[in-house]
């Protein structure tokens, strides 16, 4: 029984394994190139556990950002987690002792695995979801630590590895574009940010961009609501 649920959770988590190992390794190398070794890689992957934010975080650490900038950037990059949580309120309502970890570990990938609500017919569904979440974080931490260790011994230059973060976002943008019927939100994000980049310059456009995106989408939503 217990063996069954562990096995099913493991199989469910398999699609995420390759991704987290590769992206984790990329993060570990990047962090090492910025001058932060394996303990930093482990701590960030264990306690922050948010892929895109950790990539952005490397820039914050090496660029000497203030705590306030770090906090605001985290709010913006991770704001989408508010909405993942919103949609899981019902599902995790009775998860009991698993609930805190289930909420803590709700990354994009874990959300995408668990948001369909499917769970094995037998056994405790909360334990199953807990195991899926835990396996995923194990892959991520393993990848980060391995990348950090590898980065120290790789015989060739890893310059350009930072493009993996850009590639990650372009890939999710493309995937969303291909699956979504309504392209207005994606275009709003792209155009508002470009506009703010031109208006405010590359050092201070993120906060205005976030505000503009929220404003435009709110107005568009009102309009749609009024029309319907």
């Amino acid at each position: 029984m217990e063996h069954q649920i562990v096995k099913q959770a493991f199989f469910k988590s398999l699609p995420v394994m390759a991704g987290y190992l590769v992206l984790g390794v990329g993060f570990g190398i990047l962090l090492r190139n910025a001058g932060y070794g394996v303990l930093w890689a482990f701590a960030m992957s264990a306690f922050i556990y948010a892929g895109s934010m950790q990539y952005v975080g490397v820039g914050l650490l090496s660029g000497g950002a203030s705590a306030l900038t770090a906090a605001l950037t985290t709010v913006m990059v991770n704001a989408r987690h508010l909405f993942y949580s919103v949609s899981m309120i019902d599902r995790y309502k009775d998860a009991g002792r698993y609930k805190p970890y289930l909420i803590f570990a709700l990354t994009d990938e874990t959300y995408s695995l668990l948001c369909d609500g499917h769970a094995p017919a037998e056994g405790d569904p909360d334990r199953y979801r807990f195991l899926v979440s835990l396996f995923n974080q194990c892959y991520w931490v393993t990848g980060s630590v391995a990348g950090s260790l590898l980065g120290a011994v790789l015989p060739f230059s890893t310059a350009g590895i930072e493009f993996s973060m850009t590639a990650l976002f372009i890939a999710s943008f493309t995937e969303q574009w291909l699956t979504a019927r309504d392209h207005v939100p994606a275009l709003t994000g792209l155009c508002s940010t470009l506009l703010c980049l031109v208006l405010f310059g590359r050092d201070r456009f993120l906060i205005p961009a976030m505000l503009l995106i929220t404003l435009v989408l709110t107005l568009l939503g009102r309009r749609k609501g009024a029309a319907a």
Binding site: V86, A159, L178
Partner: protein, 103 residues
């Protein structure tokens, strides 16, 4: 020490964002929040794409060409294979090759 503070801030804010909805919306989710939950994620991804490319200078050599070609590669492989790992790997390797050719 300063770096440890930054990591702690990032960790705490991330946790706060994940836990907050569970603390506030115990009964039901307001329609506006549900709407934002649907439209904000793709918009934020668009924002992050621009953020990653903010340091590209199209007016001076290599005119942002490595970024452009690698980005096209990611879009192409993603549309073809529908596999994020394949497209990220292809784009990153291409970019690493291109910046070595450009210098």
């Amino acid at each position: 020490m300063r770096s440890a503070v930054l990591v702690a801030v990032m960790a705490l804010v991330t946790m706060l964002l994940r836990f907050l909805p569970f603390l506030i919306f115990r009964k039901r989710t307001p329609a506006y929040i549900a709407y934002l939950g649907k439209v904000l994620p793709p918009a934020i991804i668009g924002m992050l794409v621009v953020y990653c490319l903010k340091d590209v200078t199209p007016t001076a050599p290599p005119f942002g060409l490595p970024e452009l070609l690698a980005a096209v590669c990611v879009v192409g492989v993603q549309a073809w294979k529908r596999n994020a790992i394949a497209s990220i790997l292809a784009g990153t390797v291409l970019y690493m090759v291109l910046i070595r050719l450009a210098v």
